[in-house]
Amino acid sequence: MSLDFNLIWSLLPEILRSAGVTLLVWCCGVVGAVVLGFLVALGRRYGPRALGYALQAYVELIRGTPFLIQLFLLYYGGPFIGLSLDPVPAGLLGLAVYGAAYFSEIFRAGFEAVPPGHVEAAECLGLNRSQTVRRILIPEMTMLVLPPAVNMAIILLKETAVLSIITVPELTFQISAIGSQRYAFIEAMFLLACFYWGLVSLCGRLGSVAESRLSKFRFAHS
């Protein structure tokens, strides 16, 4: 395997910019997915029955179909229903909508793990619904949902590579372009795989550190 470090050095700004796109899309996508997923979980718990069924259908459809098909539907099918998006916003939206379905299931499980007695006690004390959610449900379930949520965030990091197929100029897109231009595709892909591997391992490690540091906030029952 031959590596031309001068070449890598000269391409570094381009590589860093695309790594920035990957990180940006990932972070924004995760934040969007968490917020949307939380709203979906709330809607399924407190919303009217029709909304609950609709949200359930959304979750099942997203979880039962490939991410790539969802992206194609959004990016290539979107313009036919008046939703013309550039690659980056389309990728972001796709990632958020996809991740939200999985996050909503994590939050739903978290809500269900909070003992019903605590919620009833909150009602007896006269807390209204938003107070119950903010002061009882969220604090009690945060520690429970942290491990699966970190896991999901890592999965979404790996899914950002799929965005290269709809020409989002993120790392996989740029590196494979550079690799094929310079006849060093295999080396480029190998380094890319190692980069993702390192980042994923780092995130996993950070997740377990966070878990052990925050374990004191865990409730006795969990």
Partner: protein
Amino acid sequence: MSWKLFLLLVQACGYTVLISAVSISVGLVIGTGVSAAMLSAHRGLSLAGRTFVSFFRGAPLLVQLLLIYNLLPTLGLNVPSMVAAVIGLSLCTAAYQAENLRGGFASVPRGLLEAAEMVGLSPFQQFWRIRAPIALRMTLPALVNEAIMILKVSSLVSVVGVVELTRMAQDLAASTFKPLQLFAAAGLIYFVVNWLVAMGGTALEKSFRWGKP
């Protein structure tokens, strides 16, 4: 969308199912070996097993597929893209299955193994009659999940030129200029296949209830 296009998609779905089924089976075999390596007392072997699992779970499947697809010809293996795709998917799912199986084998109660030894079962019999069935029952739900996962991510092999469901939908969408209908139909087919697999898995789990109190 015409009926003819839908039939083309269903036909292409056959390849999706074929690729996924072969990858899951090959992955189960490799995964068993890797989980055995991870559980072995030999330090180098267990490190190799853990590195394999960590790498294939850590790098995006798309990057792995592109790497393997381009790596095989330089190693002198000029295989069709279908085979390269199956190799890539198998290695990836092997890593996930190895991790599941490791949990399954670790959860076999010690007392059962001691009892098996007491009644004079050979190590081979212990493995096939005690450890493997219990581990399989423990990991069956995870295996079904993994099968559904692979059915979904097999859409990525469209990138290396395998004409399965996603690639067929892409080609038809380009030629008929109806991406909305075609990708929705493809998504629906994936959904139905995944649902069938999930149903089959639940039925299998029920029939595997032997030995439970």
